[in-house]
Symmetry: C2
Subunit: 341 residues, 2 copies
């Protein structure tokens, strides 16, 4: 695979800016959850409403603590870096701390940052630059097996569910690989294709490159993007779906989400609608596509509410329903291994 | 609109390379059909199987004839320029003829071409570079009316149908504008957004920019891209559909096409399937979306076969069916003006 390989020096600190909500800081939370041992702390600006639970550091304290990389773990809609965040990034770069980001804005295009990095001897590392030479999608059927996580919205557990599936399946001795399609996933996996940064014509082709031909019983566990009903991002979702040609998919859902991220006036689709539409479109490149489970984010619900919700979804859809971070994903892997049903 | 404005000096010549089939030279044919009076001729390489019907010129003859721009009117799948075409482009540039192209490959990235252009005092003009600062799509309902041309495949008449609709509606005194979403359309219209070159995350937003708020009775006639069932390009098609939020659409179809362009082993979808899927997905941003006609390319059919085909499609779908270049599109505009039916 000609995917982007990302490497950065540790320990790192996570930069959260003045993010107002956790849904804008999924990168930061992901890094701390999956790479906690390499994380020295978080750098936050006044007014930040998000706390990842690690130590607060100023840039000077981070330098003293031996931090080698400051990873931008927050973004506004569209992947931009607000202008008032840049001074802090410049301060870190001028002290020789590498800056790592996976946003639409390239670090070198931010005012003064290149000069600060040159002065401090720091590197600017963009993990969201797609590989060169991506092909146009052909729809050719590939060998091996694939599972794609999809969702009722953006930022509702698609990456975590795929990572949890990889962990569970490897524990059972199954051959599988997590395939990252976004910046945080690439930071965790060390490789992948930043799907939303690919030029539109090549999205299906990029998805084909992301999960190449493999052994007959090998599973690629592909991190999904966006939502098939999101008015801003569905083109990425659908290109990834058709290029991934998944044999199986899991629907990820946040039961507390009120409207699609960044799109007021629209509704979160019903899980059944997402299943139906995903199968309708996915059949184009894999007629055998099927749903094998539902993954819910119940972190903010009580134990009894969670149990009730799971029971409700399981009976409504005749599918296993789990919170991957609380229940694990064993029930979904069981269903996957039962074959078609 | 912050769209790309393209301007080039005339007279121009069209460069066709050694294209093997007309489906790869739609840019060249479009330019000659809509800008014939500014075209001095065509430059072809040995083995070229395509003839646009204008005078053949060598680069030297083009220069002597006063040609000021050589427009690349052909491409391979994916928008690449084959290496063996480059020497001819270099020769033209070194003689001071501007090179104009709308391909994925940027002209400045082709070997030796920048040097040849510098030596000859020629410009390299890429019409496929998207505007900067495109937003993420929001799905917000805009004022004014919109019609999108869609298709059962790539390259089956979507641009021509939209241009023919503009001509017919203006002749009737209706307020309307052709909105170009691809390189040839941009060359013809002088403005637009090259949708397939936009970064994936911004495709819906680019479509929103392409047809902004307008007067209540004004129609934007939006050039569609790809096909909703094309395994390589459907992400562009669907992003353009949802961002365009069309009130009406026309399905364009080439009855002689055997399989989707560049995708062997796949079938051309039925017109009814395209109508159903376009409505299902388009409803997300415009619940009133409806199909108002079918545009067929019957250039290679006999008169009787054409009449039979039109009758068949009209009765099957209860919609007007026309070949825009033979019959005009009056029947479709009549249907549009009848309102919902």
């Amino acid at each position: 695979m000609s995917g982007t390989i990302v490497e950065f020096a540790v320990p790192f600190a996570v930069f959260l800016g003045d993010a107002s909500d956790e849904i804008y800081t999924k990168t930061g939370f992901g890094l701390i959850q999956w790479r906690r041992s390499s994380c020295a702390g978080q750098v936050r600006l006044p007014g930040c409403q998000v706390d990842t639970g690690v130590a607060d550091l100023t840039v000077a304290q981070a330098k003293s603590a031996g931090v080698r990389s400051l990873i931008v773990g927050s973004a506004a809609v569209g992947g931009a870096i607000p202008p008032h965040w840049i001074a802090t990034l410049c301060e870190a770069a001028s002290r020789g701390i590498d800056i790592v980001a996976g946003l639409h804005t390239r670090l070198a295009d931010l005012p003064n940052l290149s000069q600060a990095a040159a002065a401090g001897g720091a590197r600017l590392i963009d993990v969201r630059v797609p590989p060169v030479g991506l092909p146009v999608g052909t729809g050719r059927k590939r060998t091996g097996l694939r599972l794609l996580t999809v969702g009722t919205d953006c930022a509702c557990g698609k990456k975590y569910t795929a990572l949890a599936l990889e962990r569970e399946m490897r524990a059972r001795g199954m051959s599988c690989d997590f395939r990252a399609s976004g910046q945080t996933g690439i930071m965790i996996a060390g490789r992948g294709v930043p799907m939303d940064a690919v030029v539109a014509d090549f999205v299906t082709g990029a998805a084909e490159v992301l999960s190449p031909d493999n052994e007959p019983h090998h599973w690629d566990l592909i991190e999904g993007q966006g939502s098939i009903f999101h008015p801003g991002f569905l083109q990425v979702t659908i290109g990834l779906l058709v290029g991934s040609q998944p044999d199986a998919f899991v629907v990820c859902h946040d039961p507390l989400r009120q409207e699609p991220l960044g799109c007021s006036g629209f509704a979160i689709p019903a899980i059944a609608e997402v299943i139906e539409r995903t199968i309708a479109i996915g059949r184009l490149t894999n007629p055998a596509i099927r749903c094998v489970g539902i993954a819910v984010n119940t972190a903010k619900m009580s134990g009894s509410a969670r149990a009730q919700l799971r029971d409700q979804y399981e009976s409504q859809h005749a599918l296993p329903c789990v919170d991957p971070l609380i229940d694990g994903v064993g029930a979904i892997v069981d269903r996957l291994n039962r074959g078609k049903s």
